[in-house]
């Protein structure tokens, strides 16, 4: 797989068109790594001149900030900003809504201003520039629902880009009762991903999974590594993993193009 790093590019005196911010989940979590690979395959197919930071990338600080550790967050942010600015990065794409939100909204005040895109937005722009074509392939006609990640949807009001991509797959997109600005959280945000939930009478991810399963979809699509984990666990808990898959949109696109 062709994955150039910024260090290599700079050594060759080149500046990529866009930096792909992989994120911690995308680098280390098995389910998210699949998304990372699928995205890179598409970037390569569309001949996008990109690079990653590789070992120079470190956590954006989102989970630290949302757990209340502002100090650790700002240390992470400053470290990252120093690296990004040293490479004169202008445009960043990421497959994680949490990284997307943090770099886009919280870094500028700390000295890091970039054009930041979620991978669904980026793919949509490739599509409209004619650099990428999407066909339905194996997904044609399948019943799909889309779960809005909070940090993409409500937090940044990106509702259309993921849906536009799904439509391109020629599927039957059925919305859950709570979607877009009314979407229900998967339960992972605000650093909940890293701890057990407080006591209650249900797990949030199961509640959301139930809502999705009501539609009887073949695939629950999303655009966030944490949502993907939470919903995959939910589907397993409901013993539906045989009939319902949880996938990132980018995996679907890569599969449909036989990448």
């Amino acid at each position: 797989m062709n994955v150039p790093t910024m260090a290599e590019m700079t050594a060759q005196g080149k500046q990529p068109e866009v930096l792909f911010w992989v994120g911690c989940a995308g680098s280390f979590d098995d389910r998210a790594k699949k998304v990372t690979k699928a995205f890179v395959q598409i970037l390569n197919r569309a001949k996008v001149d990109f690079a990653v930071l590789g070992t120079e990338e470190t956590c954006t600080g989102d989970p630290a900030k949302r757990s209340g550790n502002e100090f650790l967050f700002q240390m992470q942010a400053m470290t990252n900003i120093e690296v990004l600015n040293a490479y004169e990065v202008k445009k960043i794409v990421t497959a994680c809504p949490h990284c997307f939100n943090t770099i886009k909204n919280e870094y500028p005040e700390l000295g890091g201003s970039y054009e930041v895109m979620h991978h669904t937005q980026f793919l949509k722009s490739l599509l409209s520039e004619g650099r990428l074509t999407i066909e339905g392939g194996q997904y044609k006609g399948k019943k799909i629902t889309f779960h809005d990640p909070c940090y993409l949807g409500r937090a940044n009001e990106v509702y259309e880009a993921p849906r536009d991509l799904i439509q391109k797959l020629e599927v039957e997109l059925v919305e859950m009762k709570r979607c877009k600005s009314n979407g229900l959280c998967c339960g992972a945000g605000g650093a909940q991903m890293f701890k057990d939930a407080e006591k209650g009478n249900q797990e949030i991810n199961l509640l959301r999974t139930e809502e999705a399963l009501q539609i009887q979809p073949e695939i629950i699509a999303t655009g966030c590594p944490f949502c993907k984990t939470m919903l995959t666990d939910g589907v397993k808990n409901k013993e539906k993993e045989g009939s319902v898959e949880v996938m990132d949109i980018v995996e679907m696109i890569a599969n449909a193009q036989d990448l």
């Binding site: 409500r154 937090a155 940044n156 600005s181």
Partner: protein, 431 residues
């Protein structure tokens, strides 16, 4: 002798309005106990938000039934208050239905008010049934006991009495009924009084008139103690609401200074930090640590519970309820205000604070920061920002994060990721 009613009326109004002004001053004082927050930019967008959300109630219709009923009561309330203007002038000048001589469409105007009054009565009836018979879930949560629950009903009874008095006043007004315009509703009530003597009728009419204006003054003074403060505060609250993307959380400025010094290669590592009177506190443990916008939020909260009804934590039985966060903030602020009043304007430590005495860490840690509460609030309140500020205090001042979060944070510190993976393996996914 002739002027006694006018005089009485003037006194009544002065007292009523005087107390109201005092309440407003206290409200302002309490809100300004909060820390500064700059919300004076982008005024065009702010005006637009205020018109759309407060005046136009645009966020209410996310729940169509409650939204439309509320609109009826709201319009009724605002428009019928035009009538109050006439009452005040009549009371002061000793005139009777002053506007009837001035305005050619007086009949039409009062007629509209009468119809609105009936619509308001209907809407209030449905509201009452939703609260007390249907028992809509969000009105029966655990924070909705005692005062909050009674408050909701008291206001409904208030409306019924006020509307009833307005219609009675019209129905028993002989000369008004004789106009045969503007009485589409009261003409059907008038026959009930047909057998009454003219003196008695006049007495009833006057009584209804006095009670009506007294009721309105009472209502005005009731506001300060009620969730109904929102009829006033919804306007500034939507005006000063956050305009940034909801996902953008404030970057703490004190922390920023420290981090910048630490990372600055030219900084003198042995420099003695500047003498400051008191080390700055990180995050919020009491109301004075919150910003004035957050405190205004607390007073504006209508206790409608829309936020909690969409909160993933609340819906899955966790302690957290964003509505309760707002209500507790207001309760504590009131307590601090009273304490300040009792101590010649200076708050005396009472050994209590918002954190733990009102809001438990368990509530705070249950939040997923999903912003559903913020999105849903009809008056643009931001419970999430209070939750985050209090988490910051817990972690940065008390190192009191849940164990697993401490582990996550030390991972970030040591290897740049929330899990225990080696920074050097970041590109291994490629294999």
């Amino acid at each position: 002798m002739h002027y006694i009613p006018n005089l009485l009326f003037a006194i009544l109004c002065t007292v009523g309005i005087g107390f109201f002004v005092k309440n407003i001053q206290k409200l302002r004082r309490n809100i300004l106990m909060g820390k500064p927050a700059d919300r004076n930019d982008r005024s065009k967008e702010r005006w637009k938000n205020m018109f759309r959300i407060a005046l136009g109630q645009s966020k209410m219709v996310r729940r169509p039934v409650a939204g439309i009923l509320h609109l009826v009561v709201y319009i009724g309330f605002v428009i019928i208050n035009i009538e109050v203007l006439e009452i005040i002038l009549d009371g002061l000048l000793g005139t009777h239905r002053l506007f009837s001589g001035w305005i050619s469409f007086y009949g039409f105007l009062i007629g509209t008010f009468e119809i609105l009054a009936v619509l308001v009565l209907l809407a209030v009836g449905v509201f009452w049934a939703r609260r007390n018979l249907v028992k809509v879930k969000r009105f029966w949560s655990k924070e909705m006991t005692s005062w909050p629950k009674n408050d909701g009903n008291i206001i409904l009874y208030f409306e019924v009495v006020l509307m009833g008095l307005f219609l009675t006043m019209n129905a028993t007004d002989h000369s008004f009924q004789a106009m045969e315009a503007g009485n589409p509703v009261s003409q059907f009530i008038a026959p009930l009084f047909a057998s009454f003597s003219e003196t008695l009728l006049h007495l009833i009419e006057r009584t209804a008139w006095w009670l009506h204006i007294s009721g309105i003054l009472l209502f005005l003074n009731y506001l300060y103690y009620s969730k109904h403060l929102h009829i006033l505060l919804a306007f500034p609250n939507t005006f000063y609401a956050n305009l940034e993307a909801k996902g953008k959380f404030d970057n703490n400025k004190t922390v920023r200074k420290e981090v910048e010094t630490m990372m600055d290669p030219n900084a003198d590592p042995y420099a003695v930090p500047e003498e400051t009177s008191e080390p700055e506190k990180f995050g919020a443990s009491d109301v004075q640590d919150l910003s004035w916008v957050q405190l205004m939020n607390a007073y504006t909260c209508t206790e409608c519970g829309r936020c909690s009804s969409v909160c993933p934590a609340n819906q899955t039985g966790k302690e957290l309820s964003p509505r309760a966060i707002m209500m507790k903030t207001r309760d504590r602020l009131e307590e601090v205000g009273k304490n300040t009043d009792a101590n010649q304007g200076v708050f005396k430590d009472d050994g209590k604070q918002l954190l733990k005495d009102y809001i438990s860490p368990e509530e705070l840690w249950a939040c997923t920061s999903c912003n559903a509460c913020v999105e849903e609030c009809p008056v643009n309140i931001d419970p999430l920002s209070i939750i985050m500020d209090m988490r910051q205090y817990l972690v940065m001042e008390e190192s009191a994060a849940p164990q697993e979060l401490n582990a996550m944070m030390s991972n970030i510190e040591n290897n740049g990721a929330p899990w225990q993976f080696n920074q050097q393996d970041r590109l291994n996914w490629k294999e």
